[in-house]
Amino acid sequence: QKEVEQDPGPLSVPEGAIVSLNCTYSNSAFQYFMWYRQYSRKGPELLMYTYSSGNKEDGRFTAQVDKSSKYISLFIRDSQPSDSATYLCAMSSGTFQGAQKLVFGQGTRLTINP
């Protein structure tokens, strides 16, 4: 079993819909949780970061972490065609200092249709 599981999709929704992207994990030591966005033919870029459990909101994006269920989510409100990308969850057990290793999910390919 992989440490981090993410449904690869593809996921296709109409513009304006609420999108929910999810990851599950098995390592209870994970405490740093990130979402990266990767546009076609580009490298991933950090979208959101959360520490431990709880919610974090940034504009149309909300990240949720439920450590008791080992489950993290990314919600996109009022989705736009420009949100079409692959979304990767990533997590680690230590601090960001030094060369802390991240474990990535497989990535979910999302398309927002105008």
Partner: protein
């Protein structure tokens, strides 16, 4: 703005060739990483370096080596390329701040025939 530059966008090499993938970052970051990205498998860490001339194996180091002679440059070396090394290779760097994110290059698509 942080820039991580990978020297080649596409490479085609033959089985058995020695292959060099180059990566340069312009933000004076201590930490640099090489990942490969494959459909269904996500990003997997090959090697990382936390200082000049220092390197650590990641999850899949077999068949690869790395070189970091200067802080800004991190090279991935395929000693004898094989077809199962056909993949997208991503270089990344990050600083040592508590919330310093990974900054990725745009990748090198390597095909080994």
């Amino acid at each position: 703005d942080v820039k991580v530059t990978q020297s080649s966008r596409y490479l085609v090499k033959r089985t058995g060739e020695k292959v060099f993938l180059e990566c340069v970052q312009d933000m004076d970051h201590e930490n640099m990483f090489w990942y490969r990205q494959d459909p269904g498998l996500g990003l997997r860490l090959i090697y990382f370096s936390y200082d000049v001339k220092m390197k650590e194996k990641g999850d899949i180091p077999e068949g690869y080596s790395v070189s970091r002679e200067k802080k800004e440059r991190f090279s991935l070396i395929l000693e004898s390329a094989s077809t199962n090394q056909t993949s997208m290779y991503l270089c990344a760097s990050r600083g040592t701040g508590r919330v310093s994110p990974l900054h990725f290059g745009n990748g090198t698509r390597l095909t080994v025939t």
